[in-house]
Symmetry: C2
Subunit: 235 residues, 2 copies
DNA sequence: ACCTGAACACCGTTCAAGT
DNA sequence: ACCTGAACACCGTTCAAGT
């Protein structure tokens, strides 16, 4: 009100608009190519201008991850506990697949598993309490679910060296020409393993989603938690 | 034999000695502070000298991860399948805790889940086959185990912004002053959650190992896989 | 309040030149 | 064969100066 700023100017810089631009740039060029100077170029502004709105590169990337996690909406806690866990994990996975380039930031840095995720943490505790988990058993179950959810997707979306270069072909050949004398099972199950399993894939989950592996892991986690409840190991 | 090289010179540069030095430097200063120039300084050599022995920074770090994974010795496959899986996962976790700074390289980059891990993959397939898993069910079980093993540890060892700075104190306070009206379960279980659970911790697993969470996840995975076998879902 | 313009202390990598 | 020395094209961040 005091200044003479162009309020309708869509190109006005702000923390939000910078985060938005960063999200786009990450999706386009990937995390390794991301730089403050490149982002400034994209915003049509000098590099130093960003530092007026955002303290740091680290802090900016933290804001990006918070936006991604904050945009996930949490399933209704009145659902049966296993349905809720399945739905939550699937939504988390979907959200990260939409922003695959930012995935290493979330799984690799502690800052992203922070207060912005408190609503998810709280609701998960509520749901698992409702299922019958108590005290240490509750915290264990909580860690199992969060560890699976963030851990699996983080691994699924791990970065490949090239998007489709010679490295991929090399890994492909490595599996194709695996010696059946040394690695009989790898050789025998080649077709099922090729680009579909950890260690034996050559593309990241963004290019080759591991749906079956995710659903199997989810199923195993739920079965395991049910077994713990039946044994009274829920706390 | 042709040249006049000092063969006994312990300071002779080689790919192996560079990897060794990188491993030490990573442990001392962390991944974010790691640079080729810093490594060259540590080796008492000009930066460009490294490039004679090693193609790339990326390739060098790949060699580092291969060394870490290659050094893990694989349990005897004649063990009961669940004992084998538990032992393998614990050894993998121990190896990574010894080189926590390199952990993001392994969980975050596809290159590390590569041919150097074929022996682990092969033996896991052998053991799970022995347990009764077949075809697609075998590959599912395989992915569940590998996903848990690498995924959990990768998340456990995620990088904290500071080693012990103001960020930690801030996160500590955030949990301490959590509003019981908004987050009743977080508030009620504060003591159990503090620095011990994903989202509610402020230190990385290298400073605050998540033993209970790991063992609980392992237990859940094994229970879940057993349940799948009993249901005939093993293939 | 918000951005420019220049500067500083770093990077990774290449390449001719030395030995 | 193996390393030096200099150079190139980048970084993230700071800070005085402009408006």
């Amino acid at each position: 009100v005091t200044g003479a700023r162009a309020e309708g100017d869509s190109s006005a810089l702000s923390a939000e608009s910078i985060v938005e631009a960063a999200l786009l740039l990450l999706e386009r060029d990937g995390l390794d190519a991301f730089s403050m100077r490149g982002l400034a170029r994209e915003c049509g502004v000098y590099p130093a201008a960003l530092y007026w709105h955002v303290t740091d590169k680290e802090r900016l990337l933290a804001l990006v991850t918070m936006r991604i996690v904050g945009d996930i909406d949490i399933p209704d806690p009145r659902l049966p506990w296993d349905t809720w866990v399945a739905e939550m994990a699937r939504r988390y996975r979907r959200a990260l697949h939409r922003h695959a380039a930012a995935s290493p930031l979330i799984s690799g840095h502690l800052v992203s598993n922070s207060a912005n995720a408190f609503p998810i943490a709280e609701t998960l505790l509520e749901v698992l309490s409702g299922a019958g988990f108590r005290m240490a058993g509750l915290v264990d179950a909580y860690n199992v679910v969060v560890g699976f959810m963030i851990g699996f997707v983080g691994l699924e979306l791990a970065r490949a060296p090239d998007l489709d270069g010679p490295w991929q072909q090399q890994r492909r050949d490595e599996l194709d020409r695996v010696d059946p004398e040394v690695f009989p099972r790898l050789a025998a199950h080649r077709a099922l393993l090729a680009n579909r399993a950890f260690i034996t894939r050559w593309q990241s989950g963004s290019a080759a989603p591991m749906d079956a592996a995710f659903e199997a892991s989810l199923d195993v986690v739920l079965r395991g938690l049910r077994a713990r409840l039946d044994d009274g190991a829920g706390g």
